[in-house]
């Protein structure tokens, strides 16, 4: 019962929760249930971030994704309405069969490579993981963010402004156009 055991237990619980949420997103008939499933997956992934010492990213994940983005999703679901059943008519006949065969072949190939081939998950993996080097505190993440990536950081500020302005423009709706 060491640190390793604790991390394994947390990983298994969070991974199962994430997979359950993801399956709910795909299978739920009601979009509200899909949204709640997505929320569960986002929280579970945030837990896995914390386990891997990505503290700042985990906090941002909970605040931005589970907070802002999911609120937006729920608002739009309420605006659009949830009572419409999806139609089961195929616009392109037999497309599901062919896509299914193709996807199955790709998945089998990938699984075969991962399981039986000499597959290296991370090419240049360090021999020993240095906990201090990747301890994602605010200070540690801010240093590369404001030195190496400062241009990209400023660009995201511009992107968010454009995104907000674009959403406002799209929300203005005129039915009768001259």
């Amino acid at each position: 019962m060491g640190k390793r055991m604790v991390e394994t237990v947390i990983f298994v619980i969070a991974a199962l929760a994430a997979l359950a949420g993801a399956v709910t997103v795909v299978l739920a008939r009601n979009p509200i249930y899909s949204a709640v499933g997505l929320l569960g997956t986002l929280f579970s992934v945030a837990i896995l971030y914390v386990v891997q010492l990505a503290h700042l990213v985990a906090a941002v994940q909970v605040i931005v994704y589970a907070g802002a983005v999911m609120t937006l999703f729920l608002f739009v679901i309420m605006l659009i309405g949830v009572d419409k059943e999806e139609k089961r008519v195929e616009p392109l006949p037999r497309q599901r069969l062919w896509v299914g065969i193709l996807a199955g072949a790709v998945i089998l190939f990938a699984a075969g490579v991962a399981l039986f081939g000499e597959f290296v998950w991370v090419p240049a993996a360090a021999t020993a993981i240095d906990q201090e080097a990747t301890n994602g505190t605010i200070q540690a993440v801010a240093e590369p963010l404001f030195t190496d990536w400062v241009l990209a950081f400023e660009a995201t500020a511009l992107l968010l402004t454009i995104g907000a302005a674009g959403a406002v423009v799209l929300a203005q709706f005129k039915r009768k156009r001259a």
Partner: protein
């Protein structure tokens, strides 16, 4: 600690479920959620690989992906609402033309 391959396998499974949802569902909102699912799978991959390689830049990349995804959700949901107001549907099967 948990081997990095486990995290990668979990991320691959999440991405797969998201991609399947994208193919199977016709509700534009649910398809959008599946995109978020796939984005999260990739984020998990970046964090795990960054830790295995003793590199903090993976976390910085995830930070940027989160910001871009937030902007994408804002614009995408606004487009879905605009389409719904005009056509009264959220099903992608009914939207077969670009004309408004």
């Amino acid at each position: 600690m948990v081997p990095v391959g486990w995290y990668m396998a979990l991320a691959a499974a999440l991405f797969l479920i998201g991609a399947l949802g994208m193919l199977l569902r016709r509700n534009a909102l649910v398809m959008f959620m599946c995109i978020e699912l796939m984005l999260n799978a990739v984020n998990l991959t970046l964090i795990s690989a960054g830790r295995a390689m003793n590199d903090l830049n993976g976390q910085v990349a995830v930070f940027f992906i989160l910001v871009v995804a937030a902007a994408e959700v804002v614009v995408g949901l606004a487009i879905i609402v605009a389409i719904f107001r005009r056509r009264a549907t959220a099903s992608v099967d009914e939207l077969s033309e670009l004309r408004g």
